[in-house]
Assembly symmetry: C2
Homo-oligomer: 363 residues x 2
């Protein structure tokens, strides 16, 4: 198990060697470590090599100067200056929180940003201010709208964090697709097939080969097929795309730039970079924080205390598994994936850093 | 086919006889007719008998005086004074739009309201102001959280309306459950079974009998089973419940009052009535309306122009089918359900009104 402090220094060190300022390297390290602690390794150190490569090949600006392009009492249009997604997003969420402090709510639409990692991280920033936090982003196209043969939408996640009183906060963070890209890739790597209702081929027909994504196939929206409500997942993913990118002037739909270094940008992009949308709502702009939190405690206890379906141990409150993982991993350390460390070795060498190998159990 | 003006007068007349003011009767009639025109009869005249019965038996206040309980520059906490849902909701959405005019965005949490009908109606009110409109409501419990044997959430719909330029607006309006209650009831009435993945029995096991809802069963969240993402639908329905009811001080989760007259209220309710949440975001609080609308036109044309999956004619833009139905039904008239008219006859008699029968084709 890797110690989180050692990994944090490793990330900071690597990003510094790429020309990232100390402050920005720390913000990015915090975000990636948070993903590892919360058992979402697909958004943790796995992303570091691509972040670094995209800085080194000029796709991401190492010294961004994000700025406010327009504002109203409760809104901001924010230009990320093509910086690292976590850097731009932390600053944007801070602005949403500041606006909410003044106007009751704050809403920041972000253009010209990049892959932002775990959505929940930003929405959770609102919690300590007694605010509800909301965050979302669009992502490169993989998901087919209902009845479309083409993947035009990203997995476009939404996160909402809600403060409670004696209970821990409720934190929902979910992609608007039927399945995560990472899970499909894993099955592909293992040579396994997947049940119907997750993927389609390039004609839009049901597919069970997880390799179909490399052959013009696409992931289905949340809801799976039309019968089971894929049009609702499509509506949701479309709404995330529009709030994140059309409202901000970023690239939308099929134009969202890839978040990996080896894929090229499309020509004639309609907007700037990747788009995000952040919101903060001060609880006491509606009701007193005390009465709200009392009701949230009741809500959480009611749902946690519901009779579980036979064969299941308990009803889960959104965010509980991640919080439990975080508590566990903070003590036991972070379990690193072998392939992630292997991927980073050439970068360590190129940047003149000591090789890092975790001697403990890898997976 | 029934003429919409005749139906509108019928509704207004019936509600007036129940003691509803002219203004409020007109608001409610407009909402119910809009549902019929948009081919969502489950939220149209089908609701009128229950609206009337709930007024007559004292469950809904016929002369409400909705009022602002608290406000900040961009927010309002609104008490619906137990009025008809459409009346309270139209006034709440008008306030959200007014706040957005001043602060860039406006957000109204509503307590002490009742069944509000089609969510899209309210979000669409924002369109003529060059704003994005958002509306949502909680509803009486029918939907089981992932791993729960109990139905603790409503079908909790969300609607978002987005203005475009030359193209018609995009209007998404969807329940956060795997299937509509109305569809389940229809299969039950026909003695048909339903595929797995929509319903569960009182132990939380998969069920295919649509009658299961009357035997302690529940509807699954959007996403169907856990494998296909029901936890995401659960997160979404929970978020709607919290924004609509915990933020407003209305009844949440299993406490949401039934929207039919024959079911009693529970004792010791934690809040007041049903809860809604409305939002309006001024486009030009982010970017110029002209540039936004140009991009929305591009977005809509891109998605509409995508290659359809084989066997399908086209990719649908959210709101297109309802808009097309509205245009058609405005010309051809509204096709009434026989059972809806039958349900209303005793009310006509009780209230001393002429019986109304549509002589044209019923279904």
């Amino acid at each position: 198990m890797a110690d989180q402090q050692i990994l944090r220094e490793l990330i900071t060190n690597l990003l510094s060697k790429c020309g990232i300022s100390n402050e920005h390297a720390h913000i990015t390290a915090d975000l990636l470590i948070a993903a590892e602690l919360r058992d979402i390794p697909s958004h943790g150190l796995l992303r570091l090599a691509d972040y670094a490569r995209m800085i080194l090949n000029g796709r991401i600006n190492p010294n961004p100067n994000p700025r406010i392009l327009h504002e109203s009492p409760s809104t901001i249009l924010y230009d990320g200056d093509n910086g690292l997604g976590p850097v731009v997003s932390v600053k944007a969420m801070e602005l949403a929180i500041k606006k909410a402090g003044q106007a009751g709510t704050g809403w920041v639409a972000v253009q010209n940003s990049n892959h932002f990692g775990i959505a929940a991280y930003y929405s959770m920033m609102a919690l300590e201010h007694d605010m509800i936090g909301i965050s979302m982003t669009n992502a490169n196209p993989l998901v087919a709208p209902t009845f479309s043969a083409e993947g035009l939408l990203g997995t476009n996640p939404i996160a909402i964090a809600v403060p409670a009183g004696e209970e821990p906060p409720l934190v929902a963070d979910f992609a608007t697709a039927a399945i995560a890209r990472g899970k499909v890739d894993l099955l592909h790597k293992k040579g396994m097939s997947i049940a119907e209702g997750f993927l389609q081929d390039k004609e839009g027909q049901p597919a069970t080969d997880p390799g179909i994504l490399t052959k013009g196939g696409a992931i289905l929206p949340l809801g799976s097929t039309r019968d089971y409500g894929s049009h609702k997942g499509y509506c949701l993913a479309a709404s995330v795309d529009i709030l994140s990118a059309v409202l901000s002037g970023a690239n939308f739909g099929p134009f969202v730039p890839p978040s990996v270094a080896y894929l090229p940008l499309k020509d004639n992009l309609p907007g700037k970079g990747t788009g995000h949308f952040f919101g903060a709502m001060r609880i006491d702009a509606f009701r007193t924080s005390v009465s709200f939190k009392k009701d949230m405690d009741t809500w959480i206890r009611l749902f946690r205390g519901a009779t579980p379906a036979s064969g299941h141990a308990r009803v889960i409150i959104p965010g509980e598994p991640e919080r439990e993982a975080e508590a566990r991993n903070k003590i036991n350390g972070i379990r690193m994936q072998k392939k992630v460390l292997e991927q980073l070795q050439p970068l360590f060498t190129e940047l003149g850093m000591e090789p890092y190998m975790d001697n403990s159990e890898l997976y």
